[in-house]
Structures are given as C-alpha cells and as structure tokens.
C-alpha cells in the first residue's frame, strides 16, 4: 500500500456519566460511599461560596486580584478525589476546590491573595505545590516529581492542573512528551473552561479537542464532561490507577466553563456574550450533582441549608483568622527570608541596611 492511513496508538474518547439534565448512565456510575459523596458536594459548595466571599472582599478593597474558580468545581474535585495523601498535586492558579479537598486552610488562601508570602506556605506534610502563575510552566514539575517517586520505588503519582490556554505553551508539549518517553506516573488534567482570558477555545488551537493532543505523545487522552463530577472522578480514577500500576501517563480534558471573570481585574463583557454565560449556567456542576444526591436521598433542602450556614460561619472565621494573622505580620525583614538556605554576606549587608533604615524610620516616628 504505497498510500495508506496510519493508525495512532490510542483512540481518544469522550466520557460523561451524569448529564446536565440529571440523566445518569448507571452502568458507568462509580461506586462511592454516601459519606464521600456528601463530602464531594460540601467541598464543591464551600469552594463556590468561598469564591463569592472572596469576590465580595475584593470589591470592598480588602483582597487583591484573584482568579475565581466558580463553574470548575467538579473538574477540580473529581480529579483529586482518587488521589492519596502522598500523591503530588501541581496546581496552576485556579484550583480552589482541589486545594480545599486536599486540606489547604482558607486563611492561607486569603493571606495569599492579600499579598502575604506566608499564604503560599504549604501545610505540613502536604504534597501540593504552591500556585504556579506562569502558564504551563508547572507541567514538567509533575513529570519530575513522579519520576523521582518511581525511582525511589514508591507508588506515588503526580497530578498537574492547567487550562486550555496552557496547551499552547511549549512546556505543555515538552512535559507531556517527557512523560510519554519515560512512562511516568503523571496525570495531566486540562481544565478546558473555554476561555484563556479573552481567547476562546476554538482560537487557541485548531484541533477539535484538547484530549487528542495526547496522540502526539503516544499516551492515552480522554475528554470528559468536566461539570459532571462523577465522570471526572471515574476518568481520573482510571488514570491514577493506570499510573500507579506502571502503565504511564494520561491526558484528561475536562470540558467546563469559567462562570466568572478571568480574574477580578478582567471584564468578560468585553469579549463574550451574556447568552453564552447563561447557557453554561444551565450546566452548573453543583446543581446537577445536588439533584443526583437528592435522588439518592443523601441531600435535601434542610441539609443543604445547614451546610450553607456552616460554610458561612467557616468563611467568617477564616477571614477573622486571616485578619488577625495579617495584623501580626508586622516584621518587614521577612522579605529577606528563604532566598537561600544560608544568607550570603552581601544580602546580609542589605538586610542590615534595611533594618537600620526601618529603625531610623520608627525612631523618627516615635521621637
């Protein structure tokens, strides 16, 4: 056959389990105990409310720029839910629900978005890397983390998050290619929220799906309804298990939507329509999952109401803790901390001058 088609190693698939209309594919439904299901919902709700809470703070001038996650809770939570504590999570900058599930404290996040480096400090023993802002650049880290784990004979996996826009960056390509070559236990979770700031998905790349980019690396790719927490969970679980058992990396594309602005500095009205936003609101991952839990008898209006009240309290207390901590963070010399394990002499000189200057300022104020 002089001219003939070539079959790639894998086919790309699409997966949905719980439709936006609430219809369930019972055959594909993952088995999750009631308690876990409820924790899923609570985490998603907490993320949503925390987003709204932060937005309010930001509007009041009490918080800096942040990137809301509303609409993407199912993609984030469903992806990390199959992980163990000792697995690694490598976030970009919008993974609130993933952070919350993994145990990051709310006041840490508030501190971070109020411009305190202390807010980026990972909790003890956590294996979630801090926020990575340069788009796509965190992707290779996950490959390295999981390579090292395998080298040590540990069955940890690493899961990395990024957006649709990130798939255009060189580091996406290089990272996935390394994972394919070294067959590392890495799960690449692309939250395709349809937008990279003002750039719609269909102009970001001419490929029909992002999942099919996996074919370029000879690794499996799967596109999932990212507003369907069950589908995301099922796909992620499969990928995590494959990774853990030595079968290598997977690319997961979660089809979702950024319901809010890109960040609080952005105005989506300049580039997308109200109609589009409205249409996607119909696919809200929380609504759909709540109905599923109600059908299962695990939730009703009153349990949700209780949850909402608890969450409101939690948020208030978190802000109080954050405010208290910020009030205590008065030592400016911390800016010199953690540059190196040991401070070099010239930096020490600069720090000394800084201290002298501050003492001078304080004295002249006090005096």
């Amino acid at each position: 056959m002089p001219r003939h088609p070539i079959e790639p190693l894998y086919r790309v698939e699409y997966l949905s389990i719980l439709g936006s209309d609430g219809q369930l594919d019972a055959e594909l439904e993952p088995t999750l105990d009631d308690d876990t299901l409820k924790r899923f919902y609570r985490t998603m709700l907490l993320a949503r409310r925390f987003d709204e809470f932060q937005l309010k703070l930001q509007r009041q001038g009490r918080l800096g720029t942040f990137a809301p996650s509303s609409g993407q809770e199912a993609s984030q939570l469903g992806a990390v839910a199959p992980l163990r504590k000792e697995d690694w999570v490598v976030p970009s900058f919008r993974e609130l629900a993933a952070y919350l599930w993994r145990g990051t404290k709310l006041d840490q996040i508030l501190l971070y978005f109020d411009g305190y480096n202390e807010g980026a400090e990972p909790g003890e023993d956590t294996r979630d890397l801090p926020t990575a802002i340069p788009v796509g650049t965190q992707i290779p880290h996950a490959v390295g983390l999981s390579y090292a784990a395998r080298y040590r004979g540990r069955d940890e996996v690493a899961m990395v998050f990024f957006g649709d826009g990130a798939t255009s960056e060189g580091d996406f390509h290089e990272g996935l290619n390394f994972a394919g070559v070294f067959n590392t236990p890495t799960i690449f979770v692309c939250q395709n929220n349809q937008w990279a700031i003002s750039m719609p998905r269909e102009h970001q790349t001419h490929s029909k799906t992002l999942a099919q980019k996996a074919l370029a690396y000879g690794i499996p790719g799967i596109q999932v309804d990212g507003n369907d927490v069950l589908a995301v969970y099922a796909a992620a679980k499969e990928a995590v298990e494959r990774a853990r058992s030595g079968e290598g990396p997977t690319l997961l594309e979660c089809i979702t939507y950024r319901l809010a602005a890109h960040t609080t500095a952005d105005d989506p009205k300049r580039y997308r329509s109200k109609e589009e936003e409205e249409a996607w609101k119909q696919c809200d991952p929380l609504r759909r999952f709540r109905r599923y839990l109600e059908d299962k008898g695990l939730l009703d209006d009153s349990t949700v109401e209780t949850m909402e009240q608890e969450i409101e309290q939690e948020l208030k207390q978190a802000w109080q803790r954050a405010e208290k901590r910020m009030a205590e963070l008065t030592d400016p010399t911390v800016i010199f901390d953690h540059q190196f394990a040991e401070m070099p002499p010239y930096l020490q000189e600069q720090r000394d001058a800084f201290v002298a200057l501050h003492t001078g300022k304080k004295e002249s104020k006090d005096g």
Partner: protein, 326 residues
Amino acid sequence: MAKLTMAEALNLALHQEMASDDSVVVLGEDVGVDGGVFRITEGIYQAFGEQRAMDTPLAESAIIGIAIGMAINGLRPVPEIQFSGFSYLALTQLESHAARMRWRSRGRFTVPLVVRMPYGGGVHALEHHSESKEVFFSHIPGLKCVIPSSPRNARALLVSAIRDPDPVVFMEPKALYRAFREEVPEEEETLPLGKSRRVREGKDITLISYGAMLHRTLEAAEQLAKEDGIEADVIDLLTLSPLDDQLFSDSVRNTGRAIIVHEAQRSFGAAGEIIARLVEHAFFYLEAPIERVTGYDITMPYFAREHEYLPDIPRILAAARRALST
C-alpha cells in the same frame, strides 16, 4: 493638546502609526478583541481588523518568533508580552534570532520589531507580575531596550521604536500607566532612541534613574532642595541600551557625586553598568562613592510588602546625603 495617561498616550502612538503605515501590526495575548489587559491596544482591533490586531494563542516564544518572521518579510510587528515576567520564555527568540538576524545575514534580513511589555512593581499584582529584568535585554548586542517615564515621552519613544530598523524591547513601567496625565500633542512627535535627558538641573549631585523610579527620584531631589538646599541634577535614561553615557558623565564631571536609582535587583543590575561608565568617563571628578538605591537582592515580595522592596524617597535621600557628606 490633550492631557493623557501613559496608557492613552501609548494607545495614541499605536493608532497613529498603524493609520499611517500598514506594515505595522500588533499581536499578542488578548491584544485584539479585549484591547489588552492594560488597554494599551484598545480600539486597534476595531479600527484595523483582526489581520492587524492578532489575538494569539498563549505562547510567548511563538509570539516573538512569528513576529520575527513577519518582520523579515516586510512588516513592522509590535508584539505584546502581557507581563515582562513572562518574557523569558521568548528570550531565545530575542537573543538568538531577533538580535542576530541583521548581523547573521550581513544586512540582508532585518527585524524591525518592537516588543512591548509592562514591567515593574507598585500595582499590587500577583507573583511574576512586578518584575524588572531589563538587564537581560540590555546585555544582548543587537537589541535596544527603551523605558519611558511619562505619557509624552512614552508616546514619542514608541513611535521612534516602531520606525527604528532594529529590534527594540520597549518596557512600559506599569505603575505609571495611569499614575498621572500629561499634555501630549495630537501631531506626530518622536524622540531619538539612545538619548537620555536632563529632567532637573542642579550642580551638587547627579541622580540617575528611569521608569517609575524616576518620579521618586525627582521628588527626592525636590526634598533635597527644600530641606538641604542641595540642587540635584536628575537624568532620565529613557534608553538603557544603547546607553547614552555622555549626558550623565557630563553631569557627574560637574557634580562629582552620583546616585543611581532603579527597582531591579541590585547585583548585576543596570546600575553596575552606569557606575562602570562613570568610572570610565568621570573617574577623576568623583568625590564620593556612587551609591545604588535599588531593589534588594531578593525575589520581589508579594504585594503586601512590595513597598519594602522598592526604592523609596527616604532611601534615596539617605544615599544622597551620605554622598554629599563625603
């Protein structure tokens, strides 16, 4: 003459250059429909269409790489890197191609390209959004590095940069985008690249700065005049590379004392080069050590403490007074 912010003045320059020369195009992330995250390309897409206001995929190296190809084939692209902290992704394209193509092809292929990028701190931004790595670009032969300090000179310099036959990295001090307004003439105005300017006359000490720090430097100069009766000569570099060492050397030959103020980290920062030039050109006139008032050799802290990192008036005053008391 209208009173414009720097953001508006830059936008004016782009509108006018694009209207008068159809080889000028802008490209980058969110520069089209959205008008740029700082609105510097506001209205360009609407006025000139998507062929000339290209919303690109999220890929800095390709943005510059593609612009290089466009420039070789006769266009004058003005790519935007959304924040200078992401420009290192394109450094290979700048160092290994943009800066070298004229030289490599012995003048046959040229790259008249202006890479615009907001830089610097002071706007309460997230990590990587407040960086000042102008030295990366200034150290590369074949590249020019221009940093305006006011609406009017920003407009004039951007026009000159666009018309320049060689690649220019145009770093916009984002803290100044909307900090103040200045009269900017509607009619064309240019400023030569590679020339600094004296913004205040004085005989006692020379203060050298650029970008957003220039304004603190000027304020410090006024305070020195008021409180100490000291008259500072203040130089605004405007172009870092090729560096105009004549004006500041002349000044220091006159004053015998100099302070350099920039927000980039101190070690291996731009001030070192200026000091080296002063030592070359004005050594015998120096009466006191030249001090650097700069960012510390630390990573720019998150915004709650960025003011602790940035040079401020007390630091400039202290350095100047030390120099003057020598």
